[in-house]
């Protein structure tokens, strides 16, 4: 029992959990965009759910408990349901393999490589201000900040949601006039 407590306090368990969740996130992310088994968008959506759930595991490891819950409720619960619903509405046939244009493929890989190298370069100059962070992202402190310093953005976001709702209703009408 004591050895288990020591193991938890030394941070070895959270380190192992980080590698597990990171590997799961990246693996499912790869399966979202290139799935060797199926070209069906439904499989992509299912792997996106797995990516998001393992990412909320990473959020828990970063002590952002509220955001981890929001991530699962909003993304896995609402956004992905919307995706699956639209896939059902569109009634897509199994996508036939079309030839990827060679020129486009090369240019895409070059663009991604350029952005990757820029990111890696800028990451080398980043230093964390504390090695032993104490910050807790619990609901109370986050809500306090949201309703003191960030009241105006909070209200603006509510207007944005209203506008988006009206826009969606207008767009999905049968006849636009």
């Amino acid at each position: 029992m004591e050895s288990i407590n020591n193991l938890i306090n030394s941070g070895a368990v959270t380190d192992v959990l980080f590698y597990v969740f990171a590997a799961l996130t990246l693996l499912c992310g790869i399966l979202v965009i290139v799935n060797p088994f199926s070209r069906n968008p439904v499989t992509s959506a299912m792997f996106l759910v797995l990516t998001i759930i393992s990412m909320s595991g990473l959020f828990v490891l970063l002590h952002a408990f509220f955001l981890a819950a929001v991530q699962i409720i909003v993304y896995a619960g609402a956004v992905l349901v919307l995706f699956v619903f639209v896939i059902m509405l569109l009634d897509l046939k199994e996508e036939q393999r079309r030839k990827i244009k060679f020129f486009g493929f090369i240019m895409g890989v070059i663009a991604v490589g350029g952005i990757l190298s820029a990111f890696v370069k800028s990451m080398a100059s980043v230093t964390p201000s504390s090695d032993n962070p104490k910050l807790e992202g619990d609901t109370v402190s986050l809500g306090h900040l949201l309703f003191t310093n960030y009241t105006l953005p909070f209200e603006v976001v509510s207007v944005l949601l209203l506008v988006a709702m009206i826009g969606v209703i207008l767009l999905s009408k049968k006849k636009l006039e």
Binding site: Y19, I30, V32, M55, L58, L82, V126, D131, A164
Partner: protein, 101 residues
């Protein structure tokens, strides 16, 4: 070696590049949209880890707003895709070339 800021940033960068690759290479509108969500999530992960390792909660508030805006964006975007599909009977970017000169 203890897991620190750089580990999380590496995961975030790789996930962002994966999403970008998906946006560029895939031809299905819905899968392109899912790759966009992947990129947004990668940015969220970077923001949360920055906020954790700099002892400031503001990054997490920003992530909260990003999640809200992303939900609104997905709703509008999917409505656009449905409207487009009704007109063209296709969700394939190569079939949507009427704006081409």
């Amino acid at each position: 070696m203890q897991v620190g800021l750089h580990h999380y940033l590496t995961v975030s960068i790789l996930l962002f590049c994966l999403g970008l690759l998906g946006v560029i290479l895939r031809r299905n509108l819905l899968v392109i949209y899912m790759s966009l969500e992947l990129m947004l999530n990668a940015a969220n992960l970077a923001l949360v880890s920055f906020s954790r390792f700099n002892d400031k909660l503001d990054g997490q508030v920003l992530v909260f707003f990003i999640i809200t805006v992303a939900a609104a964006e997905v709703a509008v975007g999917l409505a656009l895709i449905v409207a487009l599909f009704r007109k063209r009977q296709s969700a394939h970017v190569e079939d949507l070339t009427s704006m081409k000169l």
